[in-house]
């Protein structure tokens, strides 16, 4: 009896493992197929593979529209990441360290942009600027992206800030540091992982944003995702697979390589300290 039960448990575990494997395959199969197809020599964007070729990459590098969209997205994302991180960290600091009336309401309001569908945010802002008769501008688009990224930066920073004891800051203050100096010298260095993580996430959110950008972009401006969308409307050319592969390389490769370098650096540092616990 007991042996049979144990057998059942093993089967349940194997089934769990099998479904997990299937889910991982499900998540990565389309991406792998896209990367493979980007090297296809065939004229059509699909299987079978007729040979290896880099022609679609050359074609992509010569596509002025794509390059323009890439540049636009890049600088919007950089500005969004910088500004969102700055205002988000300060907001998280206030929400964790201070007590004030309306704090609870504000905490809820701050995460709203992550929960309200982008279509609604998109239409809302358009209706507002139409009501006051203003045109769609780049500034509007960037501020919109900042709005979309703020919840994530605030949440990540809050989670880290809760773990930093306020006595460190207060010690600095009692030793004569100004408020700003104590924040800069004590709080900020302790927050670095959250700041870096938040900035990366804000960059990705902006660089990747599609639905809201479709509403907010000024006439004639394409960001990378809206450019892909309009390319897909015409036809599914292998060029899009190449574009996808380049984007994957940029958005996955950079954080991954960065993380690995950081990890090996800390490992090297640790090796230098002989008393570190042996695991």
């Amino acid at each position: 009896m007991k042996a049979r039960r144990k057998e059942e448990g093993r089967w349940a575990w194997r089934l769990t493992g099998f479904i997990t494997l299937c889910v991982y395959i499900f998540m990565f199969a389309p991406i792998v197929a896209t990367v493979i197809l980007s090297f296809n020599a065939s004229m059509f964007g699909g299987f079978p593979m007729t040979g290896f070729s880099l022609q679609w990459y050359y074609k992509l590098m010569a596509n002025e529209q794509v390059l323009a969209a890439f540049r636009t997205s890049l600088w919007i994302a950089l500005v969004t990441a910088a500004v969102t991180t700055a205002v988000g960290v300060v907001t998280a600091f206030a929400l964790v360290r201070f007590e004030f009336t309306g704090k609870q309401a504000l905490s809820t309001l701050v995460i709203m942009p992550a929960l309200v569908p982008e279509t609604i945010l998109g239409v809302g802002l358009l209706v507002l600027i139409k009501a006051v008769d203003q045109p769609r501008t780049m500034l509007l688009l960037v501020l919109g992206h900042i709005l979309l990224a703020v919840p994530y930066v605030v949440l990540i920073t809050q989670a880290r800030m809760v773990g930093i004891r306020r006595v460190y800051e207060e010690a600095a203050l009692s030793l004569g540091a100004s408020r700003f100096a104590s924040f800069r010298e004590i709080t900020l260095p302790l927050l670095v992982p959250a700041v870096v993580g938040g900035a990366l996430l804000a960059f990705t959110i902006s660089f990747d944003n599609t639905s809201a950008s479709l509403f907010w972009r000024p006439a004639g401006v394409e960001t990378m995702p809206t450019q892909i969308l309009s390319m897909l409307k015409i036809s599914i050319s292998p060029e899009i697979n190449a574009l996808g592969t380049v984007m994957i390389l940029v958005t996955v490769g950079i954080p991954l390589v960065g993380g690995l370098i950081l990890q090996s650096l800390t490992r090297l540092k640790r090796r230098g300290q002989p008393t570190e616990e042996a695991r």
Binding site: E8, A12, F26, G88, T91, F98, L109, P117
Partner: protein
């Protein structure tokens, strides 16, 4: 002269100064737009792109009497619910596996869950065309092995739309469930086992109930994101598979009927807000916060 009160260490005035930039942004880009949109639902539509501020209930009347709109809403809620449930069922297993496994490189499994968030959502969505399309992996393989003669029409239907949404929502679900599993005190499970529970009983009586908050948060998040989606139906569905988000986009950007577009947006906002409110009434906000920031 007015005497200024001395500033205390954690003075609320300083807090307000610190949150001011974000607060102003939230007011002008979130609160005010939704308020103005609500007012716009009572404006009169004249012709494409033109409306007057003469107050009317015509938009609401049209919404409630024309079954076209309610049909769209019901279809959107149905697709959202199916997607969320499938996410829940398919997402629980990997979350449980990652939590319970003794595999040394657990971090790798977690990293692989986060990687999709870095890949452009548009690219992840269109990459399904390479799998399901007439020249996609499945059709080409099946034809090559002589199982079928004609490519199967797997794209541009509701199934493909749900599949695409499943693809982008599963990591949210898995991470949400995983976060709540991580919060379980493992000694509780050892205790249950030592009291004579089988592993199945221990799972049913201890692990599953304690992970339900994460599952519920994941379900809400997946439902809201699926029901509010625009890109996935646009890329993987046909015209008939358009969801409420596409309807809103077409009403505003295509027909330039702003009052009706505002009405539809407010409807979606209220309906999804209702589900979120029911959820927070029973579960609170904290689990969602954990899921988003984790």
């Amino acid at each position: 002269m007015v005497m200024e009160r001395r500033w205390t260490l954690y003075d609320p005035r300083l807090a307000w100064m610190l949150v001011a930039p974000v607060l102003v942004l939230l007011i002008f880009f979130l609160v005010l737009p939704i308020a103005v949109m609500a007012a716009y639902t009572f404006f009169t539509f004249v012709t494409a792109g033109v409306e007057t501020s003469a107050l009317t209930t015509a938009n609401w009347h049209e919404f409630f009497t024309d079954s076209y709109y309610s049909g769209f809403l019901l279809k959107t809620l149905r697709v959202g619910a199916i997607t969320a449930l499938l996410c829940g069922v398919l997402g629980y297993f990997p979350a449980y596996f990652i939590w319970a496994t003794t595999f040394r490189h657990k971090w790798l499994l977690l990293l692989l869950l986060i990687v999709p968030f870095w890949i452009s959502f548009t690219i992840r969505t269109f990459s399904w065309i390479n799998i399901l399309g007439e020249q996609g992996v499945i059709n080409v393989a099946l034809i090559k092995f002589g199982i079928i003669n004609e490519p199967l029409p797997m794209l541009y239907n509701e199934g493909a739309v749900i599949l695409g949404m499943l693809h982008f929502l599963l990591p949210y679900m898995i991470l949400n469930v995983y976060v709540s599993l991580e919060g379980i005190d493992r000694t509780l499970i050892s205790a249950a086992r030592s009291m004579g529970c089988t592993s199945a009983q221990a799972f049913r009586e201890v692990t599953l109930p304690l992970s339900l908050p994460g599952l519920a948060a994941g379900l809400l998040l997946c439902f809201v994101l699926a029901a509010g989606s625009y890109v996935t139906p646009q890329l993987l569905g046909s015209g008939r598979d358009a969801l409420f988000g596409n309807l809103i986009y077409d009403t505003i950007m295509g027909e330039l009927n702003w009052p009706m577009g505002a009405t539809l947006s407010i409807v979606l906002f209220v309906v999804l807000g209702f589900f979120a409110a029911v959820y927070t009434r029973y579960m609170g906000m904290s689990q969602i916060v954990k899921g988003l920031g984790g």
